[in-house]
Symmetry: C2
Subunit: 550 residues, 2 copies
C-alpha cells in the first residue's frame, strides 16, 4: 500500500478497502505477505530467543493501556510487529530448543492454516462450517480408531451419527481432560428414578443421591496440572484429586493407589476416575495402563488416559506396545499441537463408548437443535475454528508411516542423549527416557560418588546447592538464546525420593541432531565456568571437601 496515496484515517472508504480482498494480490496484500514471509523465514533461521532484551525491557513496548484513537497504516504496523514482536519472540522451532513440547512445523501447515483463517469457518454448527463438520467427525473417528481399533462397521455406524460424537475437538489438552472428567462425573451421577442427574440438580444433591461424602480422581504425582484445575472447576475440590506417589520409573505405584482407594471408601468418598498417563509431561513415562484398566473395572469407575503427549506413539509398530491397555480406557486425550505437529491450539478427547458424550449434551433454539449434526452440542467450547483440517492434513500428508518415523526418531534421539549424559563427567541422568523425554542435572562425577556415600543431612546440603546451580544454569542458557532446556523439580529415587531441581529435554523436533545435543551440553559446561556461577561452585567445592574429610 503506497503511503503517498493513502491516509490512515477512519473513513468509510478506508474501511471498505480494509475489508475487501485486494483484486491484485501482488500490489498490496501480496507485497505485505511476501515481505512478512521472508522476514519470518529469516527469523526462523537465526536465533532462538531475543538475547539483548529482558522481559521488563520488552514490557516497555507494550505498556500503553489506551486503544489508539486513530488508525495506523498496515505497513507501519507490520514494521512494529517485526521489530518489537517477532524479533522478541521465542524460536520454538529451533533444533536446539529442546526444553518444551514445541517443535518445528511441517511447512505445509502454513499455507493450509492460511486457508483455514481465510475461510473463517465456525465448527460449532453446520450452518457456518458445512464440509468442515464431516471433516472434524472424520478426524475424531481416525483418532478413535487409532486408539480403540474398532472395525469398519462400527465407524460406519457412528462416524456421522447426528445424535452422538466419538469425541470432542478442543483448543488443547486441558479442555480435553476437563471434558473427559465432566463426562465421567455426569455418567456416575446419571439420572435415576426421581434423581434427574447431576447436570440438572448439581453436585450437592448428586452426592446425597449416591449417599457419599465426595468423589475423588486418582492420578500419579506426575499428572498434568490441568487435573487440579478440573477438580476445582467441577466442584470436586483439589483435596479430592489424589496424587499417588510413583515408582523409580515415574509410574504410578499400584500398591499405594489401592491403599488410597481403600482410604477413600472408608471416608465414604467415591472414586470417580482413575487416570493413567501415557507420556508424563515432566519425564515422558507411561503408567501401567493394563493394571489401571483392571483396577478401574474392579471398582467400577471411569478410566481416563491422558495421552496428550504420548498418544501418537501408537503410530509406531515398534513402540506402540508401551501403551498397551490404552484401548481399555473410557476416554483418551491426545494433543494435535504436540506430536501430530499441528500449530498451537488443537486437542482432542475420544470416548470408547460412542454415547458417552450424551452426558454433557446441550441444545439451543437458534443452533444445536435436536437432530442436527452441529458439533457444538457435544463440546465444552462454543464457537471454534476449523483446526481439525490441519490434523486431517497431517494425517494425510505425513501418513501413518511418516508419523512412525517421527516417533521412532524421537525415542532413538532420547536414547542417544541419555547415553551422552551418562558418559559425560559433569552430568547425571535423573530419569531414564521411556519415550522421548528425559531429565538430568549438572552434577560432576565426583559429587555423584560423594552423594552415594554421604549421610542424609550431607546429601540434602549438597543437593540444595546443586539445585541453585541447575536453576541458574537453566536461566543463563535461556537468556543467552542459543539453546534451551527447561527445568522442573522431581523426587529422585537415588536420593531417597528427595526432590531436586533437574533439567528437562523433550526430543520431538526431527531437526534436532546428536550434534545439536552435544552443543547443548557443551554450552552448559561453558556456562558453569562463567564468573556469575563462581561463588556458588566454590560453596559446592568447599562442602565436598568438608564432607570428604569428615
Amino acid at each position: 500500500m503506497p503511503r503517498s496515496k493513502e491516509t490512515a484515517r477512519a473513513t468509510l472508504e478506508n474501511l471498505y478497502r480494509i475489508f475487501t480482498v485486494p483484486e491484485e494480490p501482488e500490489s498490496t496484500l501480496g507485497t505485505i505477505d511476501q515481505a512478512i514471509s521472508k522476514d519470518v523465514a529469516g527469523f526462523l533461521q537465526t536465533h532462538i530467543v531475543a538475547l539483548e532484551r529482558s522481559l521488563e525491557e520488552i514490557e516497555g513496548d507494550f505498556s500503553s493501556s489506551l486503544i489508539p484513537e486513530e488508525p495506523t497504516f498496515v505497513s507501519d504496523y507490520t514494521g512494529f510487529v517485526k521489530e518489537k514482536l517477532v524479533a522478541q519472540s521465542v524460536h520454538t522451532a529451533a533444533p536446539g530448543f529442546i526444553g518444551h513440547m514445541t517443535s518445528a512445523l511441517p511447512y505445509f501447515m502454513l499455507p493450509l492454516s492460511r486457508i483455514m483463517t481465510a475461510l473463517n469457518q465456525n465448527t460449532v454448527k453446520v450452518e457456518t462450517s458445512k464440509a468442515f463438520t464431516p471433516l472434524e467427525r472424520q478426524v475424531l473417528a481416525m483418532l478413535h480408531r487409532l486408539v480403540y481399533r474398532g472395525d469398519d462397521a462400527f465407524y460406519q455406524q457412528w462416524i456421522h451419527d447426528s445424535r452422538h460424537a466419538l469425541g470432542a475437538f478442543c483448543s488443547g489438552g486441558t479442555i480435553a481432560n476437563v471434558t473427559a472428567l465432566w463426562v465421567a462425573r455426569n455418567r456416575l451421577f446419571a439420572p435415576a428414578g426421581t434423581f434427574r442427574g447431576i447436570g440438572s440438580e448439581g453436585l450437592a444433591r448428586a452426592l446425597k443421591h449416591l449417599d457419599c461424602e465426595g468423589v475423588a480422581v486418582l492420578v500419579s504425582k506426575r499428572g498434568h496440572y490441568s487435573f487440579g484445575k478440573a477438580a476445582d472447576l467441577l466442584g470436586i475440590g483439589r483435596d479430592n484429586l489424589v496424587m499417588v506417589e510413583t515408582d523409580a520409573r515415574n509410574r504410578i505405584d499400584m500398591t499405594l493407589l489401592k491403599a488410597e482407594i481403600r482410604r477413600l471408601r472408608a471416608e465414604k468418598i467415591r472414586p470417580l476416575a482413575l487416570i493413567g498417563i501415557a507420556g508424563t509431561t515432566e519425564t515422558g513415562n507411561v503408567d501401567p495402563l493394563e493394571a489401571l484398566a483392571d483396577l478401574a473395572g474392579e471398582i467400577g469407575c471411569h478410566f481416563h488416559v491422558d495421552a496428550a503427549w504420548g498418544g501418537p506413539t501408537l503410530f509406531s509398530e515398534g513402540h506402540r506396545h508401551l501403551l498397551e491397555g490404552i484401548d481399555r480406557a473410557d476416554s483418551v486425550t491426545i494433543d494435535a499441537h504436540k506430536q501430530l505437529y499441528v500449530p498451537m491450539g488443537a486437542g482432542m478427547v475420544v470416548f470408547k463408548d460412542p454415547t458417552a458424550l450424551s452426558a454433557i449434551e446441550h441444545h439451543a433454539n437458534y443452533i444445536l437443535r435436536h437432530g442436527s449434526k452441529d458439533l457444538g452440542s457435544h463440546t465444552l467450547e462454543g464457537s471454534r475454528p476449523g483446526k481439525a483440517m490441519l490434523v486431517h492434513a497431517g494425517l494425510s500428508i505425513i501418513g501413518r508411516k511418516g508419523y512412525e518415523l517421527l516417533i521412532d526418531l524421537g525415542i532413538e534421539r532420547a536414547g542417544s542423549f541419555a547415553a551422552m549424559i551418562r558418559l559425560h563427567p559433569d552430568f547425571e541422568l535423573t530419569s531414564e527416557p521411556e519415550l522421548n523425554i528425559l531429565t538430568y542435572r549438572y552434577c560432576p562425577r565426583t559429587l555423584q560418588e560423594l552423594l552415594a556415600r554421604a549421610t542424609t543431612v550431607q546429601r540434602d546440603r549438597i543437593n540444595a546447592l546443586l539445585d541453585q546451580v541447575n536453576q541458574l544454569l537453566q536461566k543463563y542458557q535461556r537468556e543467552a538464546g542459543k539453546t534451551f532446556v527447561s527445568r522442573t523439580r522431581l523426587r529422585v529415587s537415588a536420593y531417597g525420593l528427595q526432590e531436586v531441581t533437574v533439567l528437562r529435554a523433550v526430543l520431538a523436533n526431527p531437526l534436532t541432531t546428536d550434534e545439536v545435543l552435544q552443543a547443548v551440553l557443551a554450552e552448559q559446561c561453558a556456562i558453569v565456568q562463567q564468573p556469575e556461577m563462581a561463588a556458588l561452585l566454590e560453596h559446592v567445592e568447599a562442602l565436598s571437601k568438608e564432607i570428604s574429610s569428615s
Copy 2:
C-alpha cells in the same frame, strides 16, 4: 513441488524436507501458497455455500476412519482440499450471509495470522512466548480500560504485575463466561477460618460452610446457552440457572428477577451471580445494566456482563450509552472473533478487581512457578496460541475511530433493514433492533391483521402454520446458497408471549449494503412462491378464510 522429482514415501529424507522451511519460497512453499491464495480469493468472490451437494453427500468424502498408511504429495492434498473442502465450505464473509455472527475479515488479518502460525508461540508461559506475554497483557489492559476506564496509574500498576492478571484470554466467549462464573463461585466460597476454600474442599463442603442448600445464577431467557454448560460444569446444576422472563424488548424483567431472588432465599439457595447481557445472541438487546448493578450490590453477589457480542459498542461515542452501567460489572466477556473482526477462536474476560483471578490461580513445577509472569497461572486453558496479537493488530490498525464507524454502520444498517421489513407487505418485524441484530418472519399484512383480531386458539393455529413456512423458507434459502439468514424461536409479545419461529439477521459485515438486504427479502418472496411451499401456503389461506368468515 514438481512430482517427477519427488516420491511421497515415508523416508527420513522426505521428513526432513517437510520440516524445513524451503530456502527459495518461490519454488515450493511459494507456489503452493500463491495457488491457494488465488483459489481462496476466487472462492470468496463467488458463492456463499456449496449449493449442489447435501451434507449427507459431502459426508461421503469424509467417511474413512482409517489413517492413511502412506504419505500423500502436498500438491495432491491441496487439490483435495480445494475441491472437497473449500468448495464445500460456507462463505461466512459474504455480504449476503447475515444469519450468524461471522463477517468479512480485514485483509491484514491473513498475513498477520500467518506470522502467528509460523512463530507457533505458546502463551501459557514466557519461556515459549517472550514478547507475546506482555503483548497479551497489554491487550487485556486495553479491553479492561475500554470497559472500566481506570486511570494511567491504575494500569501502570497492574498491567504487567506478575502475581495478577486483569483478565484471561480464551478460545471464545464460552470459556470466558465459564471463567467468570468459576471466579465468582470461588470468591463466594473463599477460604475463611478453618474452611480452605471451595477450590480445595469442593462444592458440597462449601455449601455446608455457608449453610446453604445451593447456589444460583440468574440471567434472562435470552442468556447464551454457555451459561447452562457453566452451571452444569461448575456443579451448580442447570436447575439453579434461573432464566428470567424478559419484557417486550427482550430485556430481563427486573420485577420477576427480584421475585426469583426472594424465592431462592426462601429455599436457602444463595444467588452466586446476576448476569446482564449486552447484546443478546438472538435479538441484540441490552439488559438494564445499571439496575442489575444496583441489585447485585444490594444482595451482595457477583455481577457479570456477557458483552461477547455488544462489548465493542463501547467504541461508539453515539451508542456507548446503551451499555451504561457495564463499568460496574465485576466481570465482562468480550469476543474478539465477533465485533473486533479477528479470526475465529479469540475471546476475553476482564475483571474489575485486578486480584479477582487469584481465586482460580494455579501453579506447577515446570512452568507457572510462583512469581513468574506466565499467563497460564490465571487461565482455564493451558497451551494457547498467540491470538492476542491479532486483537492488538485490529485495535492498532483500525483504531478506536475505525471500530466506531463499524459499530455505527451496523446499527444504522439494522435500522434501515427494520424499516424495509416494516414497509414490506409480506414480512413482520418480531424484534426491534437495539444494536445490529433483528428478527422478523414471513407473515403477510393480511395475516397480521387477522392475527390481531383472532381468538387465542385461532392465533395459535395460524402461528403453527407460519412456523412451518418460516422454517422451510430458511432451509430453502440456505440450500440455494445465495443469501442466508438464521432462525430461532422467540416469545413475541404481540402474540401473548407465544413462541414463534422467526428469521434472524446480524448486520455486522461492513460490505452488507441496503441493496444486499433488499435482495435477501426478494429471494425470500421468490422462495415462498416455489411449488415446494404451495401446499403449506394453501393451508394458511384456507385457515385465514375460515377464520375471517367465522
